[in-house]
């Protein structure tokens, strides 16, 4: 057996909110993965088969995706869903998983400028905060367990616009 000392963890990066140890894993395996939220103004975000390639799908505004590789320009990033199996190839998070509120979702490439990084998480970070309750609200999403400070921030931003 080959046993090599390959890494010494010294300190977490001050810029990264995730301070998990390198080998530390999530409850059921896997490491925390980078999540981002789609922040288009109104329309869904176009998903392409490769950077600037043919359109293969759409991801709704406000959706949370797992991000993977970037292209050489840094403008395009590959996305998958929280069902994707790994951060590298993001497989398994596309058409096989049908999403009621994102029927055209596919694993693919999107413009990075339309994504807001949310940090690294084991689970979909806002799963408990935004839910699809089709019986109650149709295709609209319901904010559940909203973060208390974000409630204040939201009210304050509305106040400052007046």
């Amino acid at each position: 057996m080959l046993l090599s000392l390959s890494g010494v963890k010294t300190a977490a990066s001050a810029t990264s909110p995730a301070t998990t140890l390198q080998a530390k894993n999530c409850p059921y395996g896997g490491k925390p993965r980078p999540f981002a939220q789609v922040v288009t103004h109104k329309d869904p975000l176009t998903i392409r088969s490769c950077p600037n390639g043919p359109v293969i799908g759409l991801v709704p505004k406000g959706w949370q995706v797992v991000t993977g590789d970037r292209d050489a320009t840094g403008k395009w990033v590959k996305i998958g869903s929280h069902f994707s199996s790994s951060s590298q190839n993001l497989s398994g998070g596309g058409r096989a998983n049908r999403f009621m509120n994102a029927p055209n979702f596919q694993v693919g490439w999107v413009l990075k400028s339309y994504l807001k990084p949310l940090g690294n998480f084991c689970e979909k970070p806002l799963n408990a905060q935004r839910g699809t309750l089709p019986e109650m609200s149709g295709k609209r999403q319901v904010l559940i367990h909203q973060d208390w400070l974000q409630i204040g921030d939201k009210i304050a931003s509305r106040n400052s616009e007046k």
Binding site: M1, S6, K9, K24, F83, N127, L149
Partner: protein
């Protein structure tokens, strides 16, 4: 099935009688012969115990698809919990008062084996475990030097039991090597499989017994190891346990709200029916792990609990992650000043996995550098908390470098406490308040003003009224000495009145010289939100009629603020005081009209609620007549809903669901097109849920209850930290064996 005791049989029958009425169970019960298919009446057959053995177990995924089909009542909801699970693989479950009482009693009973009574605090460490009993505490967040110091200070104040996930507790223990640690009365390990090396480490560092706890809330499972033999005794009063095809299958005997019958929770355990030498009745168990946690070894597939993880010389703590068929990551925390000899570990890994590539990662974290903070000037920080996002402030870890630093740290400890107590604030935050109460002559005026504003905000976090009053008066005095007349500071001076009695509140209102006009700043808005918690408690005590009719009144206050923030006048604050106290505030200031006709009509309507029904009806009609903007018309419909709740008038569920759809975006603007903010509608959703359930729309009823989760400042602050840093993990796992969902 083994023979049931009379008590278990009685409880099982009672819960089956509730469960058989639910659509999610009907076919399963019918198939097992638990109910008679020829009878029009749904009732258990005479020999239900035999039929029960034929009942097909149900798993989490099935319940998750249509949880509403398992909802028996939408009235007696005392507990709202979320199952554990992989991404997207969880659901919210509900339970009632009887269940909650049984839960607390079982816990109290088991803890008493170890002499842990209600007076002994339990400090939950670095985990997603909230304080449960009155004296309990949770210390959450990243394990830094300050965090460890907080732990020692808490233990210094009062010896306590510590509790958490064994992997996280071991991280804490390893970080405490060489420290002088105040007395610890016991270490409770829960949530993960406890391994031998962890038990040894925890015992040696904390110099106390290690207790193994097992629990799964949605199933009613609970258990604790006994002091005499260390065997894990499961509580058989709350839950009926079976092993079917090697898997644990349970029936919670006290959940009549959302009963889960023969439910597979996904854990693998071994039950041992041999009597324990400690003399306690019932059986014991060994936890093997989650069903998806199997690990491929030289000896075949194993669950974590079937693998012995020994102590290795020179290594305090470790984690093994098999990344794929050939690569294994080993993370280590070493004993100080040890030459690392990897050969025992290497040999052990070879025996376990065969020929693999091991990658060792030694943790040599400098705890002082784990703090996520950035420095800024005092004025930059003040600008941030009065004008910008508080959530972003915390995410950036922005702290002022000057004399405002202690003020910022106090504010942070209030809104995002790493030390969380069951009610009020932690002893550490209390000390910070005491320090800030001492005037400091070297503070510049903007910093001193922020010190006073933060002290006024702190009043909303204090349960003890005399302490709150003392802090308020000292802050008020300091503000008077500053001769400050800023609108935002004056609003801060009035906000704490929401938590005070009539005399104090009237005195506050009469002695505050508010400028004619001004605008709420970000600090005011966050201050108001915090004060609403205290106001909601006041309503329960002073105006129970409104607190019951408009439950949870907190959501109404937040909804009001969201609607009126941009049109704020101080009369609104006075109106909230009157609402929660159920009486008029005898002050002339807030009687003046605002110049905003719709707001004036709204204030009249809210005040009329305190009087007779006729004047309230007139005021509501007047409000409707005044509404011109679409947002105002939507607001009127919401207030009409509140009126129906108050006057106990029937609600048409179809009509009101449509109203919510139509008006939600207008009442809570600035939301993405697809979103609904349910907060102002929560009291109505609570009423709609039982109506939908009675009408056979169980999934809709369930979804109303999900949407009606009340806003919770404490839980929100807790989750913000603990969700990111204090989740469970596996001490040994095989990532090559993670199935796709």
């Amino acid at each position: 099935m083994r023979e049931l005791s009379d008590r278990t049989a009685t409880n099982l029958k009672k819960v089956l009688e509730v469960a058989l009425t639910l659509p999610g169970n009907y076919h399963r019960f019918l198939q097992a012969g638990l109910i008679d298919s020829n009878s029009n009446i749904k009732q258990l057959v005479t020999d239900w115990q035999t039929a029960f053995t034929n009942l097909q177990p149900i798993d989490k995924q099935t319940v998750r698809q249509n949880p509403g089909l398992f909802l028996a009542t939408a009235d007696d909801l005392v507990y709202r919990g979320m199952t554990s699970g992989t991404s997207g693989d969880f659901f919210t479950y509900f339970a009632g008062n009887e269940w909650n009482q049984a839960r607390l009693l079982a816990r109290q009973r088991a803890l008493s084996w170890w002499g842990i009574d209600e007076q002994v605090p339990i400090i939950n460490l670095a985990s997603r475990l909230q304080p449960l009993r009155v004296n309990d505490i949770s210390l959450i967040g990243n394990i830094t030097a300050d965090w460890l110091q907080s732990l020692k200070e808490l233990l210094q104040i009062q010896p306590a039991v510590i509790r958490g996930y064994p992997s996280r507790l071991s991280e804490v223990a390893a970080a405490l090597v060489g420290h002088s640690i105040p007395a610890v009365l016991g270490v409770i390990c829960t949530g993960e499989v406890l391994f031998d090396f962890q038990k040894q480490l925890l015992e040696s560092i904390f110099q106390t017994s290690v207790i193994n706890e097992y629990g799964c809330q949605e199933t009613g499972i609970s258990g604790l190891s006994c002091p005499e033999c260390g065997r894990l005794h499961l509580d058989v009063d709350r839950c009926f346990y079976e092993i079917i095809d090697g898997e644990l299958v349970t029936t919670d005997l006290f959940n009549y709200t959302m009963p889960l019958i023969r439910y597979k929770c996904g854990d693998r355990i071994q039950l041992d029916f041999d009597a324990c030498l400690c003399g306690r009745s019932g059986f014991t168990a060994q936890i093997l792990g989650r069903i998806q946690e199997q690990i491929k070894t030289q000896q075949g597939w194993k669950y974590p609990g079937e693998i012995c993880l020994p102590k290795f010389p020179g290594i305090l703590n470790y984690q093994i992650v098999k990344q794929n068929q050939v690569d294994v990551d080993i993370w280590l925390q070493l004993e100080p000043q040890q030459v690392l000899d990897l050969s025992p570990l290497q040999l052990w890994l070879e025996n376990l996995f065969g020929e693999v590539r091991g990658r060792v990662i030694v943790d040599s974290s400098d705890l002082s550098q784990l703090e996520n903070t950035q420095s800024c000037s005092d004025l930059e920080w003040i600008e941030w908390v009065t004008k910008k996002s508080w959530r972003e402030w915390l995410e950036l870890g922005l702290l002022p470098a000057g004399s405002a630093r202690e003020i910022a740290l106090l504010l942070k400890s209030l809104i995002q406490p790493t030390v969380m107590v069951n009610s009020g604030i932690s002893p550490i935050a209390q000390q910070a308040i005491a320090r800030l109460l001492q005037p400091s002559p070297c503070r510049e005026s903007p910093v001193e003003l922020m010190a006073v504003r933060v002290l006024l905000l702190a009043c909303s976090f204090l349960a003890d009224r005399p302490t709150r009053q003392n802090i308020y008066h000292r802050a008020q005095q300091r503000l008077a000495e500053m001769n400050c007349g800023e609108y935002s500071a004056m609003v801060d001076l009035l906000i704490p009145s929401l938590g005070f009695d009539s005399n104090t509140a009237i005195s506050i209102w009469e002695n505050t010289n508010l400028p004619d006009s001004g605008k709420l700043d970000v600090f005011n808005i966050q201050h108001l939100l915090a004060a609403f918690n205290l106001a909601a408690s006041t309503a329960k005590r002073e105006n129970p009629n409104i607190a019951i009719a408009w439950k949870p009144i907190l959501s109404i206050l937040i909804g009001d603020l969201n609607f009126w923030a941009s049109r704020f006048h101080i009369q609104i604050l006075a109106s909230w005081w009157e609402l929660v106290n159920g009486k008029a505030l005898a002050s002339s200031i807030h009687r003046q009209t605002t110049g905003d006709s719709f707001l004036d009509a709204w204030l009249t309507w809210r005040q009329a609620i305190l009087g007779d029904g006729a004047s309230a009806t007139t005021a509501l009609s007047q409000l409707q007549a005044t509404a011109t903007l679409p947002t105002e018309i939507a607001r009127v419909e919401l207030e009409q809903g509140y009126a129906k709740l108050l006057w106990q008038e029937p609600l048409n569920p179809v009509e009101w669901l449509e109203k919510i759809h139509k008006n939600a975006g207008l009442i809570s603007a600035n939301l993405p097109d697809r979103d609904i903010d349910p907060i102002p509608w929560i009291p109505l959703l609570w009423k709609l849920a039982p109506l939908w359930l009675a009408g056979g729309e169980s999934e809709l009823a369930y979804q109303c209850l999900i949407a009606a989760a009340p806003p919770d400042m404490r839980a929100s602050g807790f989750e913000r930290l603990a969700r990111e840093m204090n989740y469970k993990q596996s001490t040994i796992c095989d990532r090559s064996n993670i199935p796709l969902p």
